[in-house]
Symmetry: C2
Subunit: 343 residues, 2 copies
């Protein structure tokens, strides 16, 4: 998909959701069902170690200090997205258009290369590599939160064709947006309402409830628990919650970071053992940039709690899900957790 300098963000007047419109429209002839179904073969993969000069504008690198081999000089590497929807340069330019609202598509779009090797997932390279990937997530968020135009940074991973991935090389993505995305705002609002009523963090309560009941828990480590949520949207959906209450992922301590590498690696391996060709997405939900712009977020530190959600992508959503926002779960969270505990 082509992009130019003038992508714009538009607000849905009914639902309050922002969307990005590419300035240079893709014509109908370029649409096929499943645009993303072709993979990239190793020979033509410019994300592999040794071909760094072909991807311009390196943003960050976790260096392999011990290696003298040119093809092993880094462990993780961050580069700009090839076709960024959100761009760093420019002003927000909030303005109206008739009855509608729009602004410029300011933000950041980055590719986090999770491994120097093609087709080798970080969880298969040992805990140290997974820790480096998580450290890269943390460092990028910490860097981007200094930009006061940016309200939110989402880290996400697409694995497999059904999850929207078209690269054979293991990568995560980062998108920073000048607005708080709708799904995140819904979580913030839900957590705020719960806090207003209970004077407790809903995530802390969910954690206690899940550990008490046990039937939906898959794994528990020193600092984290992984469980299938009571009202999962998709079968085998898994949330990883830190035990220590904290709204911001980037405040993770180094012992917690290592522990997150352990539980995330274990969960991905369990899912892939149960479903060898699994497509999945995962993403981190953390607090918005904490520049105190609005009173609305003043309790944020107390009422929000960062977490990671893993969504297996088995099923095609139908008109029922799109039209209603109501999901049907063919496998109960209790049974899904049991299958996952046992592998």
């Amino acid at each position: 998909m082509k992009k130019t300098d003038l992508n714009e963000l538009r607000k849905d007047p009914l639902l309050g959701r922002w969307i990005a419109v590419l300035s240079e429209s893709v014509p109908p002839s370029e649409y096929r069902q499943d645009l993303s179904s072709e993979g990239v073969h190793e020979k033509s993969c410019i994300l592999c170690a040794g071909r760094e000069s072909e991807t311009a504008g390196e943003i960050m690198l976790v260096r392999n200090a011990s290696s003298t081999n040119v093809s092993h000089k880094w462990w993780t590497r961050v580069i700009p997205n090839f076709n960024p929807v959100f761009k760093v340069e420019g002003e927000l330019g909030r303005r109206g258009e008739g009855m509608y609202d729009k602004m410029n598509s300011i933000g950041a779009n980055e590719v986090i290369i999770e491994s120097p090797h093609h087709n080798v997932q970080p969880e298969d390279m040992g805990l140290e590599q997974m820790s480096r990937v998580i450290q890269t997530y943390r460092d990028r968020i910490s860097d981007l939160e200094k930009d006061s135009r940016l309200r939110y940074t989402l880290i996400y991973k697409n694995h497999g064709i059904s999850a929207g991935s078209h690269l054979g090389h293991p990568v995560s993505h980062l998108a920073s947006t000048p607005v708080i995305p709708k799904r995140v705002k819904e979580e913030l609002d839900g957590a705020k309402q719960y806090f207003a009523y209970k004077e407790r963090c809903i995530f802390c309560d969910v954690m206690r409830e899940e550990l008490r009941v046990g039937s939906r828990v898959i794994l528990e480590t020193r600092h984290f628990a992984a469980f299938c949520p009571y009202a999962s949207k998709f079968p085998f959906e898994t949330w990883i919650l830190p035990k220590r209450h904290n709204c911001a992922f980037q405040d993770i301590r180094s012992d917690e970071l290592e522990d997150l590498a352990l539980i995330l690696s274990s969960m991905l391996k369990k899912l892939r053992t149960l479903f060898p060709d699994l497509s999945y997405n995962y993403f981190i939900h953390s607090a918005p940039n904490r520049v105190p712009r609005k009173d609305h977020w003043h309790t944020l530190g107390e009422d929000f709690h960062w977490h990671l959600e893993i969504m297996p992508r088995f099923l095609r959503t139908s008109g029922f899900e799109w039209g209603s926002g109501f999901y049907i779960l063919p496998t109960s969270p209790e049974d899904a957790a049991k299958y996952l505990r046992e592998v």
Copy 2:
């Protein structure tokens, strides 16, 4: 997917969304990527005319009065869903489970057979057939709204594999739920907020704005307009809005019904001309059952406006969309409308 009598509805404590959990869980071995990818061939299709005895419990039929041929004795036919998630019999049974909330999966799940013939879409059978399909939608909603346990009835269509359809026979579906689904509630809330601020219906305002600007309008008939929304979620998304303000689809007049058949047929033909193998969903958003249960809905007649949304399904959603609720539109609504006007 198997179902038993004890499906349950569960409420997501954070997002307020209800989901349905099947009582008899599908085991991991029965999951494949894209469960729905096999179609049904005509020879084994029990929805075709002449095989009525193989689908029990006929709910409604639009008779072909002029035909003496046994295989043409009806034009549209409604039967119970083969594996209903929502069942008509029973009490709601709202109750708690630890910190969570649940209830029984009361409701209705019906299949609306849109044509007596396999692989023949109603829009290819002429306007009379499309009118009969819409009349069937109306009659089913009018019947189900008498059940005070049911809060909402969604009519939706899945066409093509990417849209979740696995039947070669043209059908729509109906799902009645004892709760207002999240997506519908968001529209009701958004429309209510707009009305509180402007003292006007947001849909009427959008209609006026679109007809004034013109660039996103595809078709205008006597009673309806079809346009690509300003902040579409998917490329070539199209909304059909009635010009007469009314919250309830089932109050459609007969001249409006014929006109809706015309504009819906035209839109589906346009989309299929531009994209011959298109998968799409459409659904009708109408007011919830108007049994006045809550003050919350007291302005409903003024602030909501029924409509039909058509969603082409070209792209696989990725972790970005699922994690953020933020959508990227590769073709602008203005360009999409232009392409659709010109076919």
